[in-house]
């Protein structure tokens, strides 16, 4: 069975690891972990097979989540980007630039899986 590919974009290393453990435990495949938006873009361009889901933080060094989302959407407007940010004030902007969902930290494991599945089902 082909696993759903997920790219994690998060500058908090322990969170990166926890997301990875949660997602792989559920049965998804974490294809990459980027520390900032710039890294995420580089990785995204290099993927031969693009990830189905991108889990995106906002406040990151070098390039933030909003700008990264905008650029990824420009590259592929069907990309599914789920925002996972502690900054609720950017929710509207995130959706406006193309994010499919917005998870406000701290969210539960259940919320995360539910939102990913909802996005996959609505594809």
């Amino acid at each position: 069975m082909k696993l759903t590919k997920i790219l994690i974009v998060e500058d908090d290393f322990s969170l990166q690891r926890l997301y990875e453990l949660m997602l792989t435990n559920y049965g998804f495949e974490v294809v990459g972990k980027a520390n900032n938006g710039e890294e995420a873009l580089t990785m995204y361009k290099e993927f031969h097979e693009k990830p189905e889901i991108i889990l995106m933080d906002h406040r990151m060094p070098i390039k933030n989540g909003i700008d990264t989302t905008e650029e990824i959407i420009k590259l592929n407007h069907t990309s599914i980007i789920i925002f996972a940010s502690a900054d609720k004030s950017i929710k509207e902007k995130a959706i406006a630039v193309g994010a499919s969902k917005f998870l406000s930290k701290p969210f539960s494991y259940e919320d995360l899986i539910e939102e990913i599945n909802a996005c996959l089902n609505s594809k």
């Binding site: 500058d11 908090d12 290393f13 322990s14 969170l15 990166q16 690891r17 926890l18 997301y19 453990l21 949660m22 435990n25 520390n35 900032n36 710039e38 890294e39 933080d57 906002h58 406040r59 990151m60 060094p61 070098i62 933030n64 502690a86 900054d87 930290k105 701290p106 969210f107 539960s108 494991y109």
Partner: protein, 505 residues
């Protein structure tokens, strides 16, 4: 002009001629029944009532002088042939609503005519009074000029000082004689850079335009700085043009304004800082909570995992680290709010252990990254002036060196040495990393976060703006250069200089 006066009533042409030329108001009355009627008047009489005399021709004395029974009585006595000595009377000319003091003489010309001659006696006195008033006025203005709390000066149209009052000495310390005869553009009491603007203002004044008052910082005698507000306007005196200058001492007001601005700035900074910390705290605490929540949920999820033991240990470690991170965040926020208070408690600090502690913290915080920090050998006896916040300085710089770094191996070289320059003795720290580097245009901005604009780019910690503030409280400085000159992409070199604390026995 249609003159209706009955010329034929004066038989003698010589008398008539004389009558017309009398330089004071004169009138002729003729008896009619029991009354007298006005039959003539001269030019002066007409002029005094603004040429309205004609309407009084034929008027009865009893009617005209109904409110002046004294005149009526005198007229009647005169008609009876009695001698009436010249009299001073106050007479109100109703037609022009004006009172005058008159010297009134009556001459009886038999059989039925009375010649009345009036002399406005106060004319001469008025001149005398006016002259006196002018003198008094001049004296008052002179007093006003000299005792004015403002500098008042009269300049010729080219800006040469013709006259200035004595207050100038009180304000500037220089006697007024030093100013008179000089052009105000060449006084050298104010910054030379003002001269072009002052020249421009003079030009506008000469053209007849009005100019706004100007605030000028003046260096008075013995280097005393005073703020003056100068009003200038063009005036004409006896057809000659001058410039009137009124200068107010606004030093007290200006200093209060400057203090107010500083205070406003301080409060604005404090507000921005509070907002910055509030947002930073909310953001970071949510990330910590996310870590703890996810780790806790994973502890349940991983129950059936084949690598259960190993994973649980990893997750437990994350929880412990996050708790520590939360405690640090709270402590740092608290410290920053106390920064001003702590800045008064600067003392000699041995920084080696604090640097070691910062390095350990970073290695623990970024366990997944391959971090290689090298501290070059240095004189372990070096001591700087600082306080416990120096740990935050080291930690923040190291955190940035790791976070803004995409190299597989993160290298940080720390070099510490003593520097002596004309400012004094310093200990210089260099933190050289192989990170992504900082473009030249951003090299100053990175120390201004949360200060002039509300902007947090990501990550934890209180940022370089706080580092800068901490170092400023030590009278130290921080700046950033490229690790390799001319190529920012090769990483950054954060340089810090903190005054050395030279221990004395």
């Amino acid at each position: 002009m249609n003159d209706k006066r009955p010329r034929d009533s004066i038989e003698d042409k010589y008398f008539r001629e004389y009558f017309e030329k009398i330089p004071t108001p004169s009138y002729i009355w003729r008896k009619q029944g029991n009354d007298l009627i006005l039959i003539n008047y001269n030019i002066e009489a007409d002029e005094i009532v603004n040429n309205q005399m004609e309407k009084f021709l034929g008027i009865k004395a009893s009617e005209l002088y109904k409110d002046n029974p004294g005149i009526l009585k005198d007229l009647n006595h005169c008609l009876e042939g009695k001698f009436i000595p010249p009299k001073e009377i106050d007479y109100h000319y109703q037609s022009i609503n004006l009172s005058k003091r008159l010297m009134c003489s009556y001459i009886y010309i038999p059989p039925d005519v009375i010649f009345v001659h009036t002399d406005i006696i106060h004319r001469e006195e008025e001149w005398k009074t006016a002259e006196q008033k002018l003198k008094e006025s001049e004296e008052r203005y002179r007093n006003l000029f000299e005792n004015s709390p403002y500098i008042i000066a009269l300049l010729d149209i080219e800006g040469k000082i013709m006259e200035v009052n004595s207050i100038i000495k009180e304000l500037t310390g220089y006697d007024k004689t030093l100013f008179i005869g000089k052009n105000y553009l060449e006084l050298h009491l104010y910054n030379e850079s003002l001269v072009p603007n002052l020249k421009k203002r003079l030009k506008l004044l000469k053209k007849g335009e009005q100019i706004e008052p100007i605030e000028v910082l003046v260096e008075a005698k013995e280097g005393k700085k005073i703020w003056l507000l100068s009003h200038m306007s063009k005036i004409s005196l006896s057809d000659e043009e001058f410039i009137l200058v009124v200068v107010l001492d606004i030093t007290e007001k200006k200093n209060a304004e400057i203090k107010l601005k500083e205070s406003e700035l301080k409060y604005r900074e404090a507000y921005n800082r509070a907002e910055f910390y509030k947002d930073l705290f909310a953001h970071d605490i949510n990330n910590i909570l996310q870590n703890i929540r996810s780790a806790n949920e994973l502890r349940q999820i991983l129950r059936n995992d084949i690598n259960k033991e190993e994973r649980l240990a990893e997750v437990n470690e994350i929880i412990n680290t996050q708790v520590m991170r939360g405690a640090n965040l709270v402590s740092n926020i608290r410290k920053s709010s106390l920064l001003e208070e702590f800045s008064k408690k600067i003392k000699p600090i041995q920084f080696n252990l604090l640097l070691e502690s910062a390095i350990t913290f970073i290695e623990k915080m970024f366990q997944e990254r391959d971090i290689r920090i090298r501290v070059h050998p240095f004189n372990a006896n070096l001591v700087v002036f600082g306080n416990e916040f120096i740990l935050d300085v080291f930690e923040n710089i190291l955190i940035n060196a790791v976070k803004y770094n995409q190299s597989p191996i993160i290298r940080i070289d720390i070099d510490i040495k003593k520097i002596i320059n004309k400012e004094g003795n310093f200990v210089q720290f260099q933190f050289m990393d192989n990170g992504i580097g900082i473009k030249d245009q951003r090299k100053e901005q990175i120390f201004q976060r949360g200060e002039d604009k509300f902007n947090i780019e990501g990550g934890m910690g209180l940022g370089l703006s706080l580092v800068k503030k901490i170092l400023e409280s030590y009278k130290g400085i921080i700046w950033v250069e490229n690790r390799i000159e001319g190529d920012y992409t090769q990483g950054s070199n954060f340089k810090i200089m903190i005054p050395e604390a030279i221990e004395t026995d």
